[in-house]
């Protein structure tokens, strides 16, 4: 009886306990969720695409308007108002309205007779500048009709410097890539998209009445002669075209054209290239580099045009064919539009398809039933322009879906965090009611796109299957929403692959070997040569590979004296350096320069020891020169008169190359960090760009509350031994007036309160604020889960080239700082960079003066400026140079806003000297940081402990170099 009662009581207690637990279990998540929901509703973001101001949507509006019956022509010199320094200039024999840098603008008043959608055709003259494309904005009645109008671009015209002649050769008989020079004349072009999303020129809707058009430059000076508001033109069909020339004489003769001898191009990247894969590519040589093709992956941007000049001997109908290669984008076709004398002759000449194929092939206009072109005797131009073709629709579709998916992803991680708890049900369906419809919408759009690709490309290929995979994933998410949290990383990587798909879809690569205009019955071009000639070519190639020295570059003829220079860089860069020397330095001084590609970092000291060293070394890391100098390996440079170039650099650039009272290297490049942030997410969360660290922490809190992240790298996977967070320590230290060393550089100042404080702040970023120590910035920034990060400013180039899906959704600003007493902000930080040095061998060989002259020339404004421009021309803007020379920097194609931001930061950069034993500082700070972050000891104690190591090593090294004795003497 008693027992039973007890068990009953137990049961009751149990029941109460269980129900309490259940109740608690229900309440807790709810209350947490309620808070989260409250926080989220403030920051709630639309899940749909944010591109509603884009041309995609505007296009639909525009298509409802009629095509205007008559073009409106505006004389550009008759502007209504302007804010430009010197608006009227004469160029190319005509008066132009010019708008230069610093956001100058011009406005025009237009009377529009009837409602219509107008295409804008500009007649402009490419005025000299930094060599990059003209970019500007066009607003109508004070507003931008669509986002793309904020950044329009027009090309310059380029040609080989040598003109029609033979290519110059180096001493081993290799063709040298000809310099690309501008060949300005009046150009007429439509304002159109260059990303490959829209096949036709932009249409601007203008209603009947008076309107103002405003042109405002972003960079480069634009000279406009005439503005035409035109209806969309459609070329005639081939039948109409054929009818027009019916009954004319037909005496066509073959006209072959070597494609590498282009008359003009719209990009400096369209230089002649070399193909040695087969001897069918003409001309060719097994042992030498012969420039014999043009284009390739450099000819991928929509709107890039190559023009050839031809002389047609007789009137007649010509069949047009080209020997081409398109093995760049697997499974995708490239498109080209044909212009003859700047006109599209007929409909079929638009968007000619060049299918993907792994080898060279011959493409004939019209394929099996050639479409003949009628040409009269005389000079003609023939142009091919990369065009978007049918892929345009797909591309803009994929971009829209990617934007939507990005927004969905961000919305999800705002609820779940980046690494969600797999055992918790986040009730995504309830939390984000619009999630389901948005996913369904994305899936449907993707299915349609995949079908479209399959229709265009036939088989579908890898691109379509990539889209199908995303579809399958979305289907799963729609059916089982609880799986979303588990497969979040899958979601992210799928989005990344869609992002890279955008890159591929937007490209239209094509390489051309030769063109042929010939009568219909004449023999066509051949794609391949015979087996035996191919075999003998390969054997010759193999034999000659033993006879060439590939490390040596240049060696200019006609020089009295010569110096040896080692460069640690790639072959392309070395070739540019060599050409600059041959064009500018050798003619002016009579000194030849032999350039060898050697990794100077590790070998300079050994080579000098063995007496095999060069006279000068370029591109040494910033700690190398002083390390060589204190061992007596280098020549002091200020004795050769460096006063005149002194001001071309900031003090911070010289600092790492000072040792004792001398200067042992001249600064070549300088690179520092900037703040990168996502403008769209900042807007969503209602935060502004942080000016001070307090702002930064506040912004960080808001961002982290939304489960998004801020990135300050501690570990860089490329070099684990050096903590990237040391640059944060530098910032906190320098901005509070601290520095590394005492006045005679004999000991550190890390025991000071300032340093301890800065160190503590740095550690707190990871311990208290919980930042990730290691991450892949590029991918996290693209997906939007990392909203703000401090990164080297060269990251700008990578993002602008390789992250097309977030174009216009991010920006770069100076880093946050510490307010000074006068309310200005101290944004000091350290920089990295390279320098060039003169070795003792130069003095021994008696060429020290000319070596010094060479170094001075090389870091000077002209050489660095030209080098920057040429490197960008050869390797694209992703490889943009970061010169230490301030004036050379001005010549690089940054837009004025970017330039301003970079210079604002650059002025505040500071650096410390490199001293004997400097290697111990980085490693000790790294160890101290990492020990503290992993919870082993306090920040202060660790810094003090490692500071002892640093100072004892410095003291030991000073003894080795007898530095203290000199002081006491």
């Amino acid at each position: 009886m008693k027992k039973q009662k007890r068990s009953q009581t137990w049961k009751r207690v149990n029941a109460i306990g269980v129900s309490f637990c259940l109740w608690l279990g229900c309440i807790l998540p709810v209350s947490v969720k309620a808070e989260e929901a409250a926080a989220l509703s403030e920051a709630a973001s639309p899940v749909q695409a944010q591109d509603e101001n884009g041309y995609v949507f505007y296009q639909k509006t525009a298509s409802a308007y009629p095509s205007p019956s008559q073009p409106i022509v505006i004389d550009a010199t008759a502007f209504a108002a302007s804010e430009a320094a010197d608006p009227l200039q004469t160029a190319g024999g005509q008066t132009m309205a010019c708008i230069g840098e610093n956001n100058a603008w011009l406005t025009y008043t237009v009377e529009v007779p009837a409602d219509g959608a107008y295409a804008v055709r500009l007649y402009y003259y490419p005025l000299p500048g930094t060599g990059s494309n003209f970019s500007f904005s066009l607003s109508v009645d004070g507003a931008f009709p669509f986002d793309e109008a904020k950044n329009l671009s027009l090309p310059r015209l380029w040609a080989n410097a040598i003109g029609e002649g033979a290519f110059a050769q180096d001493s081993s008989g290799n063709d040298l890539r000809p310099e690309q020079v501008e060949k300005p004349h009046l150009i007429e072009r439509y304002l159109q998209d260059t990303t490959g999303q829209f096949d036709e020129p932009y249409l601007f809707v203008l209603k009947a009445g008076s309107h103002t058009l405003q042109f405002q430059t972003l960079h480069e000076t634009l000279g406009i002669q005439k503005i035409c508001l035109m209806p969309l033109e459609t070329p005639p069909s081939y039948e109409e075209y054929a009818k027009e020339f019916e009954g004319r004489p037909n005496q066509a003769e073959s006209v072959p054209v070597e494609a590498e001898k282009a008359a003009e191009t719209t990009s400096s990247l369209l230089y002649p290239t070399n193909d040695r894969s087969t001897c069918a590519t003409t001309p060719n040589d097994p042992g030498r580099i012969v420039l014999n093709t043009i284009g390739g992956s450099n000819w991928s941007t929509v709107g890039d045009r190559i023009t050839w000049q031809l002389n047609v001997p007789a009137d007649g109908w010509y069949r047009l064919s080209a020997r081409v290669r398109q093995d760049y984008t697997a499974g995708m076709s490239s498109y080209r539009t044909l212009f003859i004398d700047d006109e599209i002759p007929f409909e079929a000449a638009k968007n000619i398809v060049f299918p993907y194929q792994t080898s060279w092939y011959v493409k004939t206009l019209g394929d099996d039933e050639p479409l003949l072109v009628y040409l009269e005797a005389g000079d003609h131009t023939l142009s091919l322009e990369a065009s978007a073709g049918e892929m345009a629709v797909v591309l803009s579709g994929v971009r829209q879906v990617t934007l939507s998916l990005n927004a969905i992803y961000r919305r999800i991680i705002m609820v779940t965090g980046i690494s969600p708890d797999p055992y918790r049900d986040y009730q995504l369906k309830k939390e984000i009611p619009e999630l389901q419809p948005a996913l369904i919408d994305c899936r449907d759009r993707l299915k349609e796109l995949s079908a479209q690709i399959a229709k265009i490309e036939g088989t579908g290929g890898t691109q379509a299957s990539l889209i199908d995979q995303v579809c399958t994933m979305l289907e799963d998410f729609i059916q089982k929403p609880h799986e979303i949290t588990e497969r979040l990383s899958n979601f992210q990587s799928r989005m990344e692959s869609l992002g890279s798909l955008l890159l591929v879809l937007g490209q239209q690569p094509l390489e051309i070997d030769r063109l042929l205009l010939a009568p219909a019955e004449a023999e066509n071009l051949k794609a391949e040569s015979s087996f035996f000639s191919e075999m003998s070519f390969e054997i010759n190639k193999f034999i000659s590979s033993f006879l060439n020295d590939y490390t040596k570059i240049g060696g200019q003829s006609g020089a009295d004296k010569s110096i040896n220079v080692w460069v640690s860089t790639g072959r392309d860069q070395a070739q540019v350096i060599s050409r600059l020397i041959a064009e500018n330095f050798t003619p002016a001084t009579g000194v030849g320069v032999q350039i060898s590609i050697v990794d100077t970092g590790s070998t300079l000291i050994q080579a000098s020891l063995a007496g095999k060293g060069p006279h000068a070394g370029l591109m040494l890391e910033k700690d190398a020169p002083v390390n060589l100098a204190m061992r007596g390996g280098l020549v002091e440079l200020s004795q050769y008169g460096m006063e005149d170039i002194w001001d071309q650099f900031y003090d911070s650039a010289w600092m790492p190359f000072r040792y004792l009272d001398g200067i042992y290297a001249l600064p070549e490049t300088q690179l520092f960090d900037m703040l990168f942030y996502r403008t769209d997410v900042f807007e969503e969360l209602g935060i502004t760009v942080p000016e001070t660290w307090d702002d930064f922490y506040a912004a960080m809190e808001t961002i982290q509350n939304s489960n998004l992240s801020v990135g300050i790298l501690e570990k860089n996977s490329a070099n684990l031994a050096v903590s990237s967070a040391i640059s944060m320590f530098d910032r906190f230290l320098f901005q509070n007036g601290g520095t590394y060393f005492n006045d005679d550089w004999s000991a550190t100042l890390f025991q000071e309160e300032r340093a301890l404080n800065a160190f503590e702040k740095t550690v707190k970023l990871y311990t208290d604020y919980g930042l990730d120590e290691q991450f892949d910035f590029y991918n996290r920034f693209r997906s939007g889960e990392m909203v703000m990060s401090i990164q080297s400013y060269s990251m700008y180039n990578m993002l602008s080239q390789a992250a097309p899906e977030i174009k216009g959704l991010w920006a770069m600003a100076p880093i946050p700082g510490t307010p000074r007493e006068d309310k200005s902000i101290n944004r000091a930080e350290s920089s990295s960079g390279t320098g060039c040095v003169m070795l003792k061998a130069a003095v021994d060989d008696g060429v020290d003066q000319i070596t010094a002259d060479f170094l001075k020339w090389w870091v000077g404004e002209t050489a660095q400026g030209q080098y920057s421009v040429e490197i960008e021309a050869v390797m694209g803007s992703a490889a943009r140079h970061t010169p230490a020379n301030r004036r050379a920097f001005e010549k690089i194609a940054w837009s004025s806003a970017e330039k301003e931001a970079i210079i604002a930061q650059w002025e505040q950069v500071m650096d410390v000297r490199q001293i004997p034993g400097n290697y111990v500082i980085v490693r000790s700070l790294t160890s101290a940081l990492r020990l503290t972050i992993s919870g082993d000891g306090t920040a202060r104690r660790n810094l003090q402990r490692f500071d002892k190591d640093i100072n004892s090593e410095i003291a030991r090294k000073r003894k080795e170099f007898h530095l203290d004795q000199e002081v006491s003497e």
Partner: protein, 309 residues
């Protein structure tokens, strides 16, 4: 009367006569010996000499006697740490690698011909592929999306990512794992070959003599027959265990956080190519050389006793 063929190395001849008689052998040995002398003997001797000097690679060396050795053992804390690490690496990875090689070779021996060569290839591939530590950087990345971290986070075992390669607590273990992964080298191959060369008749004889199970077979029959392969494999694994350093440099950075995976080899590189103190680096090299030599003597003693019994 029988004419006895005379060996060219007959001990009763004079030295000069013996040298003359042995000329063909010396000629055949010469190419290797010249190279061995130039690239092994000379460097060893010159580093012994250099270790007694102060040499910064630009100025002439300066004679300082045994100062470096005194500093090495009495002042240089990092050397002691590197020494401890090297010994620990050697003690952990050397025997484990050796035993693992042996056990694997034994197992593989039981398999069919094709499977055997296939598995041998797989086991040997880390050595063939050379310094492919990249894959481990990927696995042990400190990124929360690194392979191991993301797996642990997804299963709920971790909340925050661990910096496997830079946190003192983990980096040593990670390097040990990677070294063991790549320890199936030439020693392993020689063991595989050794198992194939065993005389089968011994097993029958042993079975008649009362050997009951595979363990007894292994102990009484197999091992005594494989003396030379065991010795070779042991020497290979011990010497490679002392030369540990490149692995830890590639994985944990150079120098590693607070020298947690610093070894004598890395210490030599540090002084030789970063601090440019060749004399001190030479002293370190001499110590490492002495250690390897000592261990080699020890190993041969132990194994000889074991196999000749």
């Amino acid at each position: 009367m029988t004419v006895k063929a005379k060996s060219p190395l007959d001990q009763s001849d004079t030295l000069s006569k013996r040298i003359r008689a042995g000329t063909p052998f010396y000629v055949m040995m010469a190419p290797f010996f010249v190279l061995f002398f130039l690239f092994t003997i000379v460097p060893v001797l010159s580093s012994i000499v250099l270790s007694l000097t102060d040499f910064n690679m630009v100025e002439m060396p300066e004679w300082i006697g045994f100062d470096h050795y005194i500093r090495l053992f009495l002042e240089d804390d990092i050397f002691i740490k590197a020494l401890m690490n090297t010994l620990l690496f050697a003690v952990i990875t050397g025997p484990i690698g050796f035993i693992l090689s042996f056990v694997m070779a034994w197992f593989i021996n039981e398999l069919g011909r094709k499977t055997r060569s296939f598995i041998t290839l797989i086991m040997y591939s880390p050595t063939l592929a050379g310094n492919v530590y990249f894959i481990w950087l990927f696995i042990f990345s400190g990124d929360s999306k690194g392979l191991l971290n993301s797996m642990l986070i997804q299963t709920g075992l971790l909340r925050d990512p661990i910096s496997w390669l830079t946190e003192e607590t983990y980096s040593f273990a990670v390097v040990v794992v990677v070294i063991i992964w790549s320890s199936m080298g030439a020693g392993f191959l020689s063991l595989v070959a050794g198992f194939k060369a065993l005389d089968k008749s011994y097993y029958e004889a042993a079975a008649l003599d009362g050997v009951r199970n595979r363990w007894q077979e292994l102990y009484y029959v197999t091992l005594p027959q494989m003396g030379s392969q065991l010795l070779f494999s042991a020497v290979m694994s011990i010497s490679s265990a002392f030369a540990v350093g490149y692995q830890s440099r590639a994985l944990t950075g150079f120098p590693s956080t607070n020298y947690s995976t610093h070894t004598i080899l890395l210490h030599i590189i540090d002084y030789g190519s970063i601090r440019f103190e060749m004399g001190y680096a030479s002293a370190l090299a001499v110590v490492l050389f002495a250690m390897m030599l000592g261990t080699w003597f020890l190993i041969t003693r132990v194994l000889r006793k074991f196999t000749s019994a």
